[in-house]
Amino acid sequence: MSGEEFQILGFTLGMAALAMVAILPPGLALAWLLARRTFPGKAVLETLVALPLVMPPVATGLFLLRLFGRRSALGRFVHDRLDVDVIFTWRGVLVAMAVMSLPLFVRSARVAFEEVPLRLEQIARTLGASPVRAFVTVTLPLAARGLTAGLLLAFARALGEFGATIVVAGNIPGRTQTLALAIYQLIQLGRDDAAVRLCLAAAGLAFVALFTSERLLRRRPS
């Protein structure tokens, strides 16, 4: 692989990792809400969260483009006040990856939380632990394997993100070009050998992430 290809690989891995950091807090909160609470509109929230999973990624991309574009209130605000552009920058890549991989994480994390016996949390509470402490010392450790597996799954999804990314961040070599976008451009350039090299790298990374995720989900021999 050439230096350029390593740069693309590094950029993609870095962005996907950053996206995981970004989705962790909202993802955990959403998953916990869906697993442990009942409230009006829960089914609607559940569906909304899962939407990017099944919508055409370019449709999600268009939605994000409208949300962060300079013509929108939010886009204008960050452009004028903070002098920051989301569209056609690495921030666009980050937003696209985060939104597209959030549903996968929330789904796995919700199951992980649901599998923690409620009784154990209640025992912790009766022993005087605050709700936060019970969550941090009982729920979180018990759900850790499932949460990690979900995060890996989301990470693998982020690595391959294409549709939303190309709409929001464009395909700018050296600045917003991820693995998937680079492969697409190489196909157009007719450089199939380089495209295949990157495809193999993508397959390898996805394999490791999925394999580890599956292993984590398999029950620990008791």
Binding site: G69, D85, Q188
Partner: protein, 258 residues
């Protein structure tokens, strides 16, 4: 009577396709910049002869690649001679059908509400342009032309950090329309169909690259006769009128290689 219905229906089923019908479906791969003019021309053509034209619109580079890989296309309308050359070299073009009838020019566009002062090439290096949209400059004709133009003026290396390469020329236009790019380089014809951009300046004939659109039937076409008929229609007066109305230049004979 009821017993007769089924055989009758079956009979009709077998007989109908046998009725001599001239209507065929033609797959036309066409450069994205031709979109609007072609849609109008195709509409008129379909009404007059009954053949169906399926338009596959995109960057000429992608279309050429699809054709190389055996995509079922009857006709290729390319935005640059180089793409057609590479197909011809591989023997994929139907001999004697290639013809360059249209030309185009480049313009620099800005969003309609833009306050940027751009009136000459030198203004493109202004730091107030943070994103300059153009079609992918390595593969897509409109981008190759734009890069060629900027290189000729010695500006390419000064703007390269701010270039936003897009899928095809229409995507570059859309990026300027949405305001996400501060300026863009597109074809004159693209600027003309948009109500959301204004032309900052048009690239002069002396400075700009020569842009011509070669059309050709493809060797793999299963309907060479119908394909030739549509190809001929594309350079007929009614079709040329439409092209002209959308801002294309009508040139005679093949133009020099860009």
């Amino acid at each position: 009577m009821k017993r007769l219905l089924l055989p009758l229906a079956l009979g009709a089923w077998f007989v109908l396709p046998a009725v001599p019908t001239a209507a065929v479906e033609l797959n036309v791969s066409a450069a994205a910049s031709l979109t609007d003019a072609l849609q109008e021309i195709v509409h008129a053509y379909e009404a007059s002869c009954g053949d169906h034209i399926l338009l596959n619109l995109g960057a000429s580079s992608l279309l050429a690649r699809q054709i190389e890989e055996g995509a079922p296309a009857d006709l290729f309308l390319s935005a640059d001679e180089a793409k057609m050359d590479s197909l011809a070299k591989k023997g994929l073009v139907l001999a004697g059908t290639r013809k360059s009838v249209l030309g185009n020019t480049l313009v620099v566009v800005v969003p309609l509400d833009s306050k940027l002062k751009i009136s000459a090439p030198a203004d493109l290096v202004s730091s107030s342009i943070r994103a300059l949209a153009l079609a992918e400059p390595q593969t897509v004709p409109a981008g190759i032309y734009a890069k060629e133009y900027l290189q000729k003026l010695g500006l390419w290396r000064k703007v390269i950090d701010r270039v936003v390469p897009t899928e095809n020329v229409r995507a570059a236009l859309a990026a300027v329309e949405s305001g996400n790019a501060d300026a863009g380089i597109v074809y004159q014809t693209d600027a003309e169909i948009s109500h959301k951009v204004k032309v900052a300046y048009a690239v002069s004939e002396a400075e700009g690259p020569k842009i011509s659109y070669p059309f050709a039937a493809l060797a793999a076409s299963r309907h060479p006769q119908e394909t030739r008929r549509f190809l001929a229609y594309l350079s007929s007066p009614p079709a040329l009128d439409v092209f002209r109305r959308f801002g294309f230049l009508v040139i005679s004979g093949p133009a020099a290689h860009p």
